[in-house]
């Protein structure tokens, strides 16, 4: 039973870590499926994390903070669209520019406003998203396995974790069962086909990037107002890139991408538990090596085990009408 409890604790941590990855990966899926590379997931999340923490601290409401996070991420996404769709700029350069800009701007503003060394004030009470206890969680806790899993693993997360969980089937449904999804996928594969069908390629890409901004904003807000309790410099710590890796590893499909996110999050959870543990033969591994584990895994997976990924065919290419 003790192993089971450890497993549940690990999975619980996995869910918490996976939440921003899943939201960012789903965000990236809309952008990339429409043919726009989004390396700026990182910057959008960081921007959202900063805005959410700042506004939550000022307004006293986590929900208002979330709104600010979404607006910030959305604006950055539209900036990306303006550069890459309207003006046909290089998508990687635009994405990197957003990352660098936010990485510098957020701590600078935080310092100017709060004088706390580039952080925002710690959030308390309603300024943060609190854990929710699902109905009957306490009542069924004592039922072995099922009840315990429900109470400890399924229940007891904050609202954004459940939003992330819901984002996967909803994204899948939108992408594969709606007119908007069909057009997004078409525009990422063959924008000429969309144009000749009488649909504006640019409009579809703007709409897809709007969805990206929304989802990324939720993911970023989670970091500072739900998972953490303040904005800290560089708090995304590469999660945007990790989400992008999960998206590629998941071959731009919702379910495999979700699994990739969970895998990355799981190694992160394991990594925390492994710190300082005396392993047979090797002994105690220096903590830096263990912390590098998720990233090493990312490199290995992307380098060797993905197999042939079929990215959207028109990805990275601005749409220009041919003569």
């Amino acid at each position: 039973m003790e192993e089971f409890q450890i497993f549940i604790t690990l999975m619980d941590a996995t869910f918490r870590v996976a939440t921003p990855l899943i939201l960012a990966a789903m965000a990236g899926m809309f952008s990339e499926r429409s043919g726009v590379v989004d390396i700026g997931l990182e910057g959008k999340m960081l921007g959202a994390a900063f805005a959410a923490a700042t506004i939550a601290s000022i307004s006293g409401s986590a929900w208002v903070g979330l709104g600010a996070g979404i607006i910030t991420s959305f604006s950055l996404s539209m900036l990306h669209a303006y550069a890459c769709v309207t003006h046909k700029g290089n998508q990687v350069v635009s994405g990197m520019a957003i990352n660098i800009m936010v990485a510098g701007l957020a701590p600078t503003l935080a310092f100017a406003w709060f004088r706390m060394g580039g952080q925002t004030p710690a959030l308390k009470g309603d300024e943060r998203f609190q854990s929710l206890t699902l109905p009957f969680a306490d009542a069924v806790r004592d039922i072995p396995v099922i009840g315990y899993t429900y109470a400890e693993l399924i229940s007891g997360h904050n609202i954004i974790v459940y939003m992330a969980a819901a984002s996967v089937p909803i994204s899948a449904w939108v992408l594969f069962r709606t007119r908007f999804g069909l057009r997004v996928r078409a525009v990422g594969e063959n924008p000429h086909a969309v144009d000749t069908a009488g649909i504006s390629v640019n409009a579809i890409r703007y709409q897809a990037l709007a969805v990206t901004g929304l989802l990324c904003g939720i993911g970023g807000s989670y970091l500072s107002t739900a998972h953490g309790a303040a904005f800290i410099r560089d708090m995304t710590a590469g999660k945007g890139y990790l989400a992008l890796a999960a998206l590629i590893f998941g071959k731009w499909k919702p379910l495999p991408t979700l699994l990739a996110c969970l895998l990355f999050a799981f190694t992160d959870a394991v990594q925390v538990r492994l710190q300082g543990v005396d392993l047979p033969i090797v002994g105690v591994i220096p903590v830096q090596f263990i912390q590098a584990l998720p990233y090493v895994l990312t490199v290995l997976l992307l380098a060797g085990f993905v197999g042939k990924a079929n990215p959207p065919k028109a990805i990275g290419e601005p749409y220009i009408k041919e003569r």
Binding site: R179, A193, V194, D195, T196, A197, I199
Partner: protein, 522 residues
């Protein structure tokens, strides 16, 4: 003439692209229920004109009338609503979608797909029956052969309620049999009252299927004639502006020794697909060996292997008895040194460096020859001199050795490459698609040059997807299908039907399939 207003009428349409006057005062009238051909050389402005009708571009001046009504078509949506459907030269399909999804794209009939898909399925079943356009609507478009993809494009237009169907160079990728099938479909469409506009540069198609034909030359409409009142020769003359020789004039070949032997070549590509299967060929002096086949059946790979840019999985290539298969010792540059010229199939990807000037392109592959080098620097004067001699001999226009390769038209780019390879006077010349995208006048010239080389006792291997070209130029024809050489025959015995069947992998008699049988026996 009937009193009924024409299905489509253009009045004095003008279009400029910067300083280029692409369409000059074009007027055109297409009657309902007819097949109307628009013929002209590449760059004559046919595609631009039709793109204006389809709302892809807007005319700078002029009027478009549909059924007698003036229409403002400023985007494809407006054109679709006006009942115009277009089948583009490069199919506008999403490979990863099913046929059904491709067809409803843009006319989904609601925010959720389910209902629209179900409705489209029924409607398509009706259309398929009405016009005998059978296709599996649940198949992925990427898995379909080109002939069927084209059918999907036609269905797509009909599903949108097209009354006027424009086809831009529809037969470029089809076998003759597939083309005939397409023509039958177009006839059915006409009989059902649809109007068909066929854009092409192939005279055969115009003569075979159209009711009327309009000829364009250099952005102008030069003639409107009834098809039965004209002839191929007359149309060719109208297109080019002077009389052209359609048939290649050549004497009987005098084949000599085999200069190049291809022995048991197999090739498996990076995706693990077997592209070439036990290829054996002999390329003889004083003979043109034509390789026919629908594109994508291994010809490109074969040419790359012979040209020394790709290593075959097994087998070898002998040149005058010496093994020259690409290896550590032999590569494309060594082959050029020992007298093997190679005109690659794709001049943009492999034949030229487009941002380089004409004179720089003139010495590519021969750039280390002493005559172009002075110590460590290139001898620009020598390069320009060579380039100028090529320009003169091959009539390359504009005659400017300092113009970037990208600034020449397709035909002149091709002449740059041909001149470079032919003027080195190689003993064996490998030519891929010698006249792809080349104008009728220049085709005549290129064909003459190739025949001259042959008559000088050189060996030529030519890969072409143009069946007419293979038939008129070759002395011997090998047909490729699915990586096999499915048959070899004397050009004198070749008919279009015979070649077409072989290109489609259908054997009417067993004997040419030696390669295939051998593999079965093994």
């Amino acid at each position: 003439m009937t009193t009924e207003s024409p299905a489509l009428e253009l009045r004095r349409v003008n279009k400029w692209f910067g300083p280029v006057h692409a369409n000059k005062d074009i007027s055109l009238s297409v009657n309902r229920g007819t097949i109307h051909g628009i013929i002209g050389e590449n760059g004559a402005g046919k595609s631009t004109l039709m793109s204006i009708v389809y709302g892809f571009y807007q005319a700078d001046e002029g009027e478009i009338l549909i059924n007698g009504q003036t229409c403002h078509i400023d985007n494809p949506q407006a054109s679709i609503e006006a009942g115009i459907g277009m089948v583009h030269q490069h199919f506008m399909l999403v490979d990863t979608f099913t046929v059904l999804e491709n067809i409803i794209l843009g006319v989904e009939g609601g925010a959720r797909l389910g209902e629209g898909l179900a409705k489209a399925r029924l409607e398509l079943a009706r259309l398929e029956k009405e016009y005998s356009l059978e296709v599996d609507v649940d198949a992925l478009v990427g898995d379909l052969p080109v002939g069927l993809r084209q059918r999907v494009e036609i269905l797509k237009a009909l599903y949108r309620g097209a009354e006027i169907l424009i086809l831009d160079e529809p037969t470029g990728v089809l076998t003759p049999q597939e083309a005939d099938h397409l023509f039958r479909i177009l006839n059915t469409l006409r009989d059902q009252g649809k109007t068909v506009i066929l854009i092409t540069h192939k005279l055969r198609e115009i003569m075979a299927i159209t009711d009327n034909v309009s000829v364009m030359r250099r952005g102008e409409m030069v003639a409107h004639v009834g098809t039965n009142e004209t002839s191929r020769e007359h149309l060719a003359e109208l297109m080019v502006g002077r009389s052209v020789l359609l048939q290649v004039e050549k004497s009987e070949a005098q084949p000599g020794n085999a200069l190049m032997n291809v022995v048991g070549i197999n090739f498996i590509d990076a995706d693990g697909v077997k592209r070439l299967k036990d290829i054996n060929l002999e390329i003889k002096a004083g003979e043109i060996l034509g390789i026919a086949g629908v594109s994508g059946n291994g010809q490109s790979e074969l040419l790359e292997i012979l040209g020394g840019t790709v290593t075959p999985t097994s087998g070898s290539i002998l040149y005058k008895g010496e093994d020259i298969t690409k290896s550590d010792k032999f590569n494309a540059r060594d082959l050029r040194k020992i007298g093997l010229g190679h005109v690659p199939e794709d001049r943009h990807r492999a034949g030229l460096v487009l941002p380089f000037t004409a004179h720089e392109n003139t010495i590519l592959g021969y750039h280390d020859a002493a005559e172009y080098n002075r110590g460590t620097t290139l001898d620009k004067a020598a390069m320009i001199e060579t380039c100028e001699s090529h320009i003169e001999k091959f009539d390359i226009r504009p005659p400017n050795p300092n113009l970037k390769a990208s600034g020449f038209s397709g035909g002149n780019q091709q002449k740059l490459v041909l001149a470079r390879e032919m003027e080195q006077n190689p003993d064996v010349l490998l030519v891929g698609q010698p006249t792809r995208g080349v104008d009728i006048g220049a085709i005549e010239f290129i064909h003459k040059q190739l025949i001259q080389m042959r008559d000088a006792g050189k060996a030529i291997l030519m890969v072409s997807v143009e069946i007419e070209e293979v038939m008129s130029l070759s002395d011997r024809i090998a047909v490729m299908f699915d990586g096999f050489i499915v048959g070899e025959l004397d050009a004198k015995d070749a008919t279009e039907t015979k070649l077409g069947l072989m290109m489609a992998g259908i054997q009417d008699d067993a004997d040419p399939s030696s390669a295939k049988n051998k593999e079965v026996a093994e």
